[in-house]
Symmetry: C2
Amino acid sequence: MRTFLDCIPCFVRQALDATRFVTDDVRVHERVLREVLRAASEMDLSLTPPEMGLRIHRAIRQLTGVVDPYCEVKERFNRAALALYPELKTRVRAAHDPLEAAARLAIAGNIIDFGVRSSIETAEVEALIDGALDAPLEGSVAPLRAALGEADRILFLADNAGEIVFDRLLIEELPLERVVVAVKGSPIINDATRADAEAAGLTDLVEVIDNGSDAPGTLLGVCSDAFRRRFEEADVVIAKGQANYETLSEAEQDIFFLLQAKCAVIARDLGCPVGSFVLRRHRE
Amino acid sequence: MRTFLDCIPCFVRQALDATRFVTDDVRVHERVLREVLRAASEMDLSLTPPEMGLRIHRAIRQLTGVVDPYCEVKERFNRAALALYPELKTRVRAAHDPLEAAARLAIAGNIIDFGVRSSIETAEVEALIDGALDAPLEGSVAPLRAALGEADRILFLADNAGEIVFDRLLIEELPLERVVVAVKGSPIINDATRADAEAAGLTDLVEVIDNGSDAPGTLLGVCSDAFRRRFEEADVVIAKGQANYETLSEAEQDIFFLLQAKCAVIARDLGCPVGSFVLRRHRE
């Protein structure tokens, strides 16, 4: 997906928020902001939004020297999600269609924000699960089920820490011996890396690889050769989250995008209302 | 008031919104946006926010050739506000303290958005007036009353079209023979110019001058010499709206700022909650 003009003010806001998360030094906030404004003023709008995200976070790393500012947040989100896992698993097992229930919960994992809390009240968890299981779904699970039945190589592109525990529910409904899960090669925002796949218990279940990249989503041009080969060889790709849609919506592979359409730009691109739960096959 | 980093994403968003208001040509949207990003990347943050506003709207005028894109909007807002005027005037006359009631309604005029409607339902008007008269006020009318009693020259800096009809209520509570009302020298967004002062009936009541400038607020450096002289000679200045606060908060004059604190940056600068009705004497 190309970058729309509406993405630009959003980049600028994100750059400021992210820099403030990393440091209290207002001189650094200003330097990052100016760098992002300058880059945005010259940006090739045919590039995808995560390419600007990559540039922003590289600038923050360079100007602060902090490599993984979200480390603690990621660990906390994993713990909070793992505390929910048993209840979520019970609901998937009890569901009329466990694959669909797991897919819906994996999408819900894309939007859960544990914020500053380390735990969520039981009543909230129930409401959250019920909401995810009852939400209207843009797309259906049937084509995914059919494609999985025929695929020898299934590549699952994880998104964020915390969310990756919700992804495990869906991964457990897949033919595990044919599944490879890919995480980021190095830290970028709160995206899942190998440490998060381990925390979520995925490394004991399936093969976990990393994509060799520090970009949000999957920018194939900056991924490792090894990852690109696995991507090209995959019969089915399951791609979680907005950034994976933004970076792979033009790819040739057979991709199923699972995400919540969080902003107006992506909702318009997908042709659905903001906030929709989306399970969209790329080829459709 | 200097520009804060939080103002920058807001500028970028405003530039896009304003350009879209003027033209449907996406190439122009992109050119304005790139120009604003470049300018913001090099901006002197000790300047006030309206200086970037000036730059944005000059770029839009230059790239579109449209001098007064908000012309129709301003006329519509004036008409809608004039339709409310009799009811508002009745309420001021009936008030225990007509000066305070008129000041509150003038502040309320700063936030009324008639949107796409040409009229507002009676019930809404009542709710709006009651809200304005009952809202907590940051500051009090007593110092204004005292200053007005001693002032020979009172300069009233108007803000937007439509709002200027609400301002008339307050101006009518002032010693008219000592009042001069200043509007913008040429169109900038929906700010009031001489045409709006005439539409509001002010030119029949008091002397109306213009500030010779096409900037939001009052950037003294780009105002006419004639205006600057009147500003310097004024014993009391009443300045309406956020942009006048942003541009004059460091000035030497005895200024009473009347505004609603619409954004977090200005609310922090004023030390009040977002949304507050503010009647603040500059010297306090």
